[in-house]
């Protein structure tokens, strides 16, 4: 088995044989089970809670309410957005008790937690808890929430506006707009989605009375980020929080943060002196997992007579839901601000962001975390400008690309771009997609009764700049002298065990199977960033190379000793130290085994480095066919040419592009969270009502690479995790728009569901008849 499997991902064997260990698989001796009562109204005062009847139910040990959350003081979540606006104002953070206290603000907010001897007993007791609510008016739309007279969610957030922040030069933009020959304007939405990794959230938390400390088993994106956030929420010192992390069933940003349920479980574990386990159902997940996207974006692009861009202006309304999550605001404000200029030279820029509260589930990072959103509005503007000016969409882009000789390019807002070859990437993608031959395919589709359109995107995203200033990698040798590599990154499907081991093995010149990666291991005192923001290969992965190089140098004196030579007389190649005259040699791993059992092993080391921001980019070309009779859209062809920098494992990179594009296709064609505007009820609360992408949505992707090696890290990598999402929203939507433009349709908003497409096509056809 191992031999046949050898060429494939290291993590696969346990995952395909049912031996993966996910959070819900974890059990601690003596554990109790928690279940959460979630409110069924979107905005209400909690007049009274009577939990006593639940305590009489069989198996019930305790019931916890908002009183317990307030007594513990678990109500202030950390937030990654720390900068102020020009007036010096900071983000206003409303309190969020880990169990609601006094008021509920979205359907699904936790109101009480039952802890019982079994999960079923805990669930059974929920309906015995009596809660009296007094309904309050509801607002679910972010623009409506910011309007005068809107229901107010938090007393300390006047007008439901947490933060208003702007960047760029408003006066310069205004001046440029006055001189423009043409201005393209549009307003688009990036609809709210539910990240929906296939593994529901789960946690088991134990408390040790003797040391006043906690053991946490939960899904996560990495130990350091999680520990810091748990400590910030609860005030428990980081050294008293032990994290035992393991396989994670996808995340996409959704597990980047501490959740209220974590805090509630800590309260219960401490009070009851027994571990407490909770496994979310998918229905609970739809209500209470962090949601993603939900931005309303207006943009204006000014250009001269030749289509040369002069200035752009954006106005973002960022829906945060009812409370702030640790990652949501930074995702919606900081990340888009880095790439307001897209891949284009736009001399003057201005962007304004308003962060709003609504009676909906809180928003957090979701694959791309603001990067797909800014890319989407930039690309929609450029596409529309090409149509307005009757210039070929590829040609308009060529005229405005940041030229190769202008890197590093400092954008007028926040970004400093690393070198990229946008023109080369575009040319390669257009050729691969047969852009020039499209008319034939459109005509063939027309004969079949289908509307076929082509769209392209040329996008860029800022990645890799982590929250923590440096990444560390430890190399250690176990009791048998086997090489282990430690990182605080944590794969949620990215395949680090394969790629990082490959980096170390390639640097050392040894077999990858002689290197084992250990991720986010409790007790390993190393620093670094969690896995997110397309960062881990660029950060932790590149430090793996640094660590391997350091290992060679650290081993050289020991090798010299073993060979009875001066270190300067020892050469290293392909895993072996040799005398310069070739007379004798010792393998690195053999040397390590000779010293096995020493404590510490003399070859153990920690390497570190700081990795700056880098900028993956690419050109994607989509062709979409729409059946005008049904409104059903189909992706007829998809081409992706990406600059991910240097690629370590092509299969994994292709897999990331597949997954990212499919996720984009989900948002474009199907996924939409729908809250009833009057009641705030979630009407898309299961996979029956929420259209997840399925097999066949994206049938094939024609993938090529156009790497420009990054200089911010020793691997030359730029990252790829989010590229598919960033590029696909605009390529797919503009392809669909291109298909229906001949009918007179000028604008489309996601999601392009069959019913919506059928409606706009019908309306357009009726308008033509009139």
């Amino acid at each position: 088995m191992s031999e046949k499997h050898a060429a494939n991902r290291r993590e696969d064997l346990r995952l395909i044989t049912g031996r993966g260990r996910y959070s819900s698989d974890m059990n601690l001796p003596g554990q109790l089970h928690a279940s959460f009562l979630r409110c069924d109204c979107a905005h209400a005062e909690i007049v009274a809670i009577n939990a006593k009847p639940a305590l009489k139910r069989p198996g019930v040990v305790a019931v916890f309410t908002g009183e317990d959350a307030m007594a513990a003081g678990y109500k202030d979540f950390p937030n990654l957005l720390t900068f102020t606006n020009r007036a010096g104002a900071t983000l206003i953070k409303p309190e969020r008790p880990v169990i609601a206290h006094g008021r509920v603000r979205f359907v699904g907010e936790t109101v009480a937690m039952v802890v019982a001897e079994s999960a079923l007993a805990a669930q059974d007791a929920l309906d015995a808890i009596e809660v009296t609510y007094k309904d309050l008016p509801v607002v679910v739309d972010a623009e409506a929430a910011l309007a005068a007279g809107a229901p107010q969610l938090h007393t300390n957030v006047p007008g439901n506006l947490n933060f208003e922040w702007d960047t760029g030069d408003a006066a310069a933009v205004e001046q440029a707009f006055k001189q423009a020959a043409h201005i393209t304007k549009l307003k688009v939405v990036s609809p709210r989605v539910v990240p929906s990794p296939m593994e529901p959230r789960a946690a088991v938390i134990g408390y040790d009375t003797a040391t006043d400390s906690y053991d946490v088993y939960t899904n996560s994106q990495g130990i350091i980020m999680m520990r810091w956030q748990f400590a910030a929420l609860t005030g428990v010192a980081e050294e008293k929080l032990r994290f035992h992390l393991h396989d994670v069933g996808g995340s996409f940003g959704q597990r980047s943060a501490v959740y209220p349920e974590h805090g509630a479980l800590m309260i219960a574990a401490k009070k009851l002196g027994r571990p407490v386990k909770w496994v979310s159902s998918r229905s609970e997940g739809f209500l209470s997992d962090s949601h993603g996207r939900s931005l309303i974006m207006a943009g204006e692009l000014a250009m001269d007579r030749d289509g040369k861009f002069l200035a752009a202006r954006y106005n973002f309304v960022c829906d945060m839901g009812a409370y702030l999550t640790p990652t949501g605001t930074a995702s919606h404000v900081r990340n888009p601000a880095i790439c307001t200029t897209g891949v284009y030279k736009i001399p003057a820029l201005y962007a304004n962001f308003r962060v709003a509260m609504t009676n909906t589930a809180p928003i957090a990072a979701y694959r791309g975390a603001g990067r797909p959103d800014i890319a989407y509005v930039v690309e929609r503007l450029v596409d529309q400008a090409a149509v307005d000016l009757k210039i070929d969409r590829a040609e308009l882009r060529r005229r405005n690309f940041i030229p190769l000789n202008e890197f590093p390019y400092k954008t007028p807002t926040m970004g400093v771009y690393e070198a990229s070859d946008f023109n080369g990437c575009l040319a390669k993608a257009l050729k691969a997609a047969d852009w020039d031959g499209f008319a034939v395919r459109r005509e063939a589709a027309r004969k079949r009764g289908k509307l076929r359109g082509i769209g392209l995107s040329t996008t860029i995203e800022g990645t890799a700049a982590g929250m923590f200033p440096k990444d560390q990698i430890a190399i250690e040798f176990d009791a048998q002298g086997r090489l282990e590599v430690f990182t605080v990154a944590l794969s949620q499907g990215q395949g680090h065990e394969t790629t990082f081991a490959q980096v170390v093995a390639d640097t050392l010149g040894v077999d990858a199977h002689d290197v084992t990666l250990r991720e986010s291991v409790q007790g390993k005192n190393i620093a670094g960033n969690h896995t997110g923001g397309s960062r881990s290969l660029v950060g932790a992965g590149s430090i793996c190379k640094v660590a391997a190089q350091k290992l060679i140098e650290q081993a050289r004196p020991l090798a010299a000793e073993a060979l009875e030579l001066e270190p300067s007389q020892v050469e290293y190649a392909k895993g072996v130290f040799s005398a310069r005259d070739g007379t004798k040699s010792v393998g690195l791993l053999e040397l390590a085994k000779k010293h096995a059992g020493k404590n510490p092993h003399p070859l153990n080391l920690v390497a570190e480095g700081s990795v700056g921001a880098t900028f993956p980019n690419g050109c994607h070309v989509a062709e979409v066919e729409i059946d005008p009779e049904t409104g059903v859209s189909e992706i007829a062809a998809y081409t992706a040419c990406d600059d991910s920098g240097a690629v370590i494992n092509h299969a994994i990179v292709e897999g990331q592009v597949h997954g990212g594009v499919a996720m984009g296709a989900g948002q474009v064609f199907g996924e939409r969270v729908f809250y009833d505007p009057a009641s705030g009820q979630l009407l898309s609360g299961s996979f029956s009502d929420y259209a997840m992408p399925r097999a066949g949505w994206v049938r094939n992707i024609n993938i090529s690479e156009h790497p420009v090696i990054s200089k911010v890290n020793v691997l030359g990598a730029k990252g790829v995790g989010e590229a598919g999402c960033t590029a696909s929203l605009s390529s797919l939507v503009t392809a669909a728009l291109d298909a229906v433009r001949p009918l007179g349709i000028q604008h489309l908003d996601m999601p392009l569901t069959a019913s919506r497409m059928w409606q706009v096509i019908q309306q357009a056809q009726q308008a033509k008849v009139k």
């Binding site: 049912g18 296939m198 299961s686 399925r694 049938r699």
Partner: protein
């Protein structure tokens, strides 16, 4: 309480469980076979797919009591010693998994699909996997894996 006897991965098992116990909970909580996953509560995701008397079943839609006397195969029973099942082999060969959470259900669904239809077309594969959700791979490599497995099992 329901007394249940069944064969799981070739082993006879007997348990007494609450009447309402689902087959997936029997497998995971009572038999410790955690390779079968629970990804939803509306029978949409297919993470819990197992074989009951040779047919693919979403084990969250079936009471354990309904499996009384049945022969059940889970992901843990697919490999024969060191020999991976061709569908398992195809999934790793084609990089048809990332996080791996949907994978056991995908593999079980695929094995059943190929039993009914040994040489499926692309359309038949899309249709056959309609009841299995994956959030990581975009399904492209999963479809490749189904085809490789079909080829191997010819």
């Amino acid at each position: 309480m329901a007394k249940i006897e069944l064969t799981v991965n070739g082993t006879r098992e007997a348990r007494e469980v609450e009447d309402r116990t689902l087959l997936v909970d029997l497998l995971r909580d009572h038999l410790g076979l955690t390779g079968t996953h629970i990804g939803c509560d509306t029978s949409q995701c297919g993470c819990c797919t197992v074989h009951v008397d040779g047919r693919a079943v979403k084990s969250c839609t079936m009471l354990a009591a309904q499996a009384n006397g049945a022969t059940v195969v889970t992901i843990e029973g697919m490999a024969k010693g060191d020999q991976l099942h061709p569908v398992q082999q195809a999934f790793t060969d084609c990089h048809a998994l990332q996080c791996g959470f949907c994978t056991p259900g995908m593999i079980m669904a695929t094995a059943a699909l190929l039993k009914d239809n040994p040489q499926p077309t692309d359309e038949e594969i899309y249709h056959g996997l309609e009841g299995n959700l994956c959030r990581c791979t975009g399904y492209i490599n999963i479809v490749k894996a189904v085809k490789q497995a079909a080829e191997t099992m010819k």
